[in-house]
């Protein structure tokens, strides 16, 4: 009887482990947004940024980062991330994308797992929304949806992203400016 129990345990344990692993990986994948419905906009856009970096490629790419302070920061930032997905389209004219395109993304973010931490609505400058997915009080996903009259940008980062570090990367690495305009910096008061 004991042998039978041991044999059963031997087969059941790996199955349970597999089940738990699948469940955990499935929950981690929930933070990924489906962005394929925006791909048709690449034909209309004057400038397109299309980035799909999954966990495997992310780890490989980390090996090619140097030992400079900036690249070390990037290494620390992408440590533990499971994917980075970006779609950004800049258009010559307004109205190239439809509200349905935006709603398709926003509908995915209405899931209870996502929490909107920033939502700025401006008819002139466009809307920008920042969503976080929290798992056990830790960030497990980030989504930024920036909708401007001539620009549509969706950023989806999966994994424990450090927002503070991410915010400091804008002016680093000497990467050419993508033409993302922010409000003019106010002059320091005298």
């Amino acid at each position: 009887m004991k042998t039978l129990f041991q044999t059963a345990l031997k087969f059941v344990s790996p199955s349970l482990l597999l089940l738990v692993t699948v469940a955990v990986s499935a929950s981690a994948q929930d933070a990924r947004l489906q962005l394929t419905n925006l791909d048709y906009l690449a034909g209309k856009a004057s400038q397109t940024v299309n980035v799909d970096i999954d966990e495997k490629v992310l780890h490989v790419t980390a090996n090619f980062l140097g030992n400079g302070s900036d690249e070390k920061e990037v290494k620390a930032l992408i440590n533990g991330l499971k994917g980075i997905y970006v779609r950004s389209f800049e258009f010559e004219r307004e109205g190239e994308y439809t509200p349905a395109d935006v709603e398709a993304i926003r509908a995915q973010l209405k899931n209870s797992a996502w929490t909107r931490i920033v939502g700025v609505v401006s008819r002139k400058e466009g809307n920008i929304e920042v969503y976080l997915m929290l798992t056990n009080n830790q960030i497990s996903g980030l989504a930024v949806l920036a909708v401007e009259p001539k620009e549509l940008t969706v950023v989806n980062i999966i994994g424990p992203v450090d927002l503070a570090k991410l915010a400091t990367l804008e002016d680093q690495f000497g990467i050419p400016d993508l033409g993302i305009e922010g409000p003019a910096k106010s002059k320091p008061r005298e």
Binding site: V49, V51, I53, E55, K56, V57, L58, H59, V60, T61, A62, N63, F64, L65, V74, A76, L77, I78, N79, G80, K82, I84, V86, S88, I117, V118, V120, S122, E125, I128, E129, V130, L132, Q138, I139, L142, V144, A146, T153, V155, I157, G159, P160, V161, D162, L163, A164, K165, L166, A167, T168, L169, E170, Q172, F173, I175, L178, I180, G182, P183
Partner: protein, 198 residues
């Protein structure tokens, strides 16, 4: 004693020789035709041996595959970079533009089946593996990772790195833009300006 008889059977034989001939004559060769049985049972001792050899070979093959699978399961390959990243203390937040509580660093998951585009050199962790294998391993020498990255793969990796930087920069820009817009709405200076304009 007449020895000619022993030589060419000529002359009178010795009585002892004659007696011996009579005794041993019964065992003399008798020419008879070969008689083969019509229904002889076909025995297969050699065939049995062949089957045994085949069965032993199959058993050995199964055993070898089982051992190979066991070794590979018990000694998973670990990427050195991932091992380095799991050290505590890395990835602490340093910036000042905090929009949300920074997450604590988590250990990087193990890559399971390699990249689709670029092969990484892998090294097996010396702490893993069966106990019997440990005694056969050379203690002093370390196996260097195999250099499998071709120039084309290197180029692809560098392009991916550029894309990664671009994506991070774009994400950073959008986060900062959101933060600036949020601060701009909540800024008391703007409210004062609205009073002045109104």
């Amino acid at each position: 004693m007449n020895e000619d008889y022993l030589w060419d059977r000529s002359g009178e034989p010795d009585p002892e020789v004659r007696e011996l001939e009579e005794v041993l004559g019964t065992l003399r060769y008798q020419p008879t035709p070969l008689r083969l049985p019509a229904t002889a049972p076909i025995r297969g001792p050699r065939r049995q041996t062949t089957w045994l050899a085949v069965a032993a070979a199959v058993a050995l093959l199964v055993l070898a595959v089982g051992v190979w699978v066991l070794i590979n399961r018990s000694a998973p390959s670990v990427h050195p970079e991932v091992v380095q990243k799991t050290k505590p203390g890395s990835g602490q937040s340093e910036g000042s533009n905090v929009m949300a509580p920074s997450p604590s660093p988590q250990p990087a998951p193990q890559p399971n089946d390699g990249s689709e585009r670029i092969k990484i050199p892998h090294r097996r962790s010396p702490s893993h593996g069966p106990a019997w294998a440990g005694s056969q391993r050379r203690p002093a020498t370390k196996r260097e990772p195999r250099a499998e990255i071709s120039p084309a793969e290197m180029q692809a990796a560098l392009e991916t790195k550029e894309k990664l930087m671009q994506a991070l920069r774009l994400a950073s820009a959008k986060l900062n833009l959101a933060q600036r817009k949020t601060q701009g709405i909540q800024s008391p200076a703007n409210i004062r300006n609205q009073h002045k304009l109104g």
